[in-house]
Amino acid sequence: MSFLGYPRANGTAGIRNDVLVIPGGLVASKICDFVNGARTILTADSGSGRTKRDRETIARVLVGLGKNPNVAGVIVHGISLGSGYPELKPEALAAQIAETGKPVEVISSKQYPDVLHVIERGIRVAREMVRDASHIRREPFENGKLSIGVKCGRSDSTSGIAGNPVMGYLFDRIVESGGNAFFGETTEIIGAEHLLSKRAVSDEVAREIIRVTREIEERAKSCGEDIRTINPVPSNIAGGISTLEEKSLGAIEKAGTKLIQGVLKYAEAPRGKGLYFVDNWMSQLSIFLGYAAAGSTLTFYQVGGGGLLEDTLLSPSPTGVTPIVWTTANPNTFRAAGESIDFYSGTVIEGKETIEQAGERLFALVQQIASGSLTKTETINFQDPAQVYLLDSPF
């Protein structure tokens, strides 16, 4: 089985074909307002007053997003980026993105008398890039060219018994095909890290899984707050989840059964293929951005929603360039939020399908979406702000 994707110069395959303008802000937004097919991200953090570690994370996100196979061409402008820090210089970002062989253009504000001229130049370049991208035709690729990332949220007991196991089946199929699959949310493996570490490809990776779990546990304690007042979150409890361990054991079901090849930092690209654990934050405004920067072309949000699902119209991707496939196994959630949810696996709870059957159905849907079929939230003209996962205090 295979999908129809956009060939990129470095041998990767995109499932979308957009032009990306970075960093986010006034200039990028105005260019994208004018040009069909140009996209950006909305982030508030420019890197100004951030530690070197955090500035490097911001740079990694911007470079990774530019390198993403869903992106055909990139414009990097020199305005609103962190005050001239070397790692955030537009030329430095552009040079790394250009390693993929895709067109990258820097629009330096120094070349133009004012910001309106920068925007004008950006519009001209973006229109040309969009037209150039439109000449690229989709062609067949093996599923091993897919790279996916998952978050589970608004978790309830349907997540652990059906929604996440079906996602886990998809993860196994992608890994068997030779692709990449990412899962993360470090607070949500507390209580299940002993099971994950047994699935590590090496002792070193096993130790790394335990280390990042301990680190987040210590960080939670050092806040002086009982993490159990943060996680499980109130909607989890209202959905039948009682303890953090219970939430974690359900959460890791989404990672399937394959060996874990490594532990990655937020927005870090893997060195090889297969399943990776990402030491990231659970927020939907942050996690998908990180997966996209690590090279994911398709992301998944598996929801429970049994507790406190208030928003029945769910959001499109905040990354701009990677669609989100929304899934649920909760019949009530599917009824209430079906306008946004692409896939229902509650059939497993109802006894109508096995996990394998539902998983195969999801795998088939993935290949359709990878070949160009739109997800439900891709039809919504809205973009949430995205939040880079930063670890240090601002100064």
């Binding site: 018994i161 546990e217 707050e225 009982d226 159990r228 009682s242 303890t243 361990e245 359900g250 049994g306």
Partner: protein, 103 residues
């Protein structure tokens, strides 16, 4: 097969998840992954998605789901009773905040 359905995910589990709304005194058919099923009686309402005890669980004993511990009973739990935050507690990441002593 009569009774309302609940799923036990692992043979080691001492709780099951209700996959229908269950009323007090109703019979529950507990299906274990792997095929076998047995019956217990609900002693109170168990809403869809919530847990029911499959045996008496004395205070301090571990509660198992997915074959793994999800916490300890914080009071004696009877077979057929709902199992949730009022009668079990997680054992990980215990900081301040237990029993209302938040700083």
């Amino acid at each position: 097969m009569s009774g309302k359905r609940a799923l036990a995910l692992n043979p080691k589990d001492n709780i099951a998840v209700a996959v229908e709304n269950i009323q007090a005194a109703e019979e529950i058919t507990v299906q274990t992954r792997g095929g076998e099923s047995r019956s217990i009686r609900a002693v109170q309402n168990i809403p869809f998605g919530f847990k029911v005890a499959l045996e008496n669980i004395p205070e301090g004993q571990f509660v198992f789901k997915y074959g793994e511990t999800i916490g300890r009973a914080s009071r004696d739990i009877k077979i057929g009773e709902e199992v949730h935050i009022h009668n079990i507690k997680g054992v990980r990441v215990q900081g301040k905040g237990e029993k209302g002593e938040r700083s």
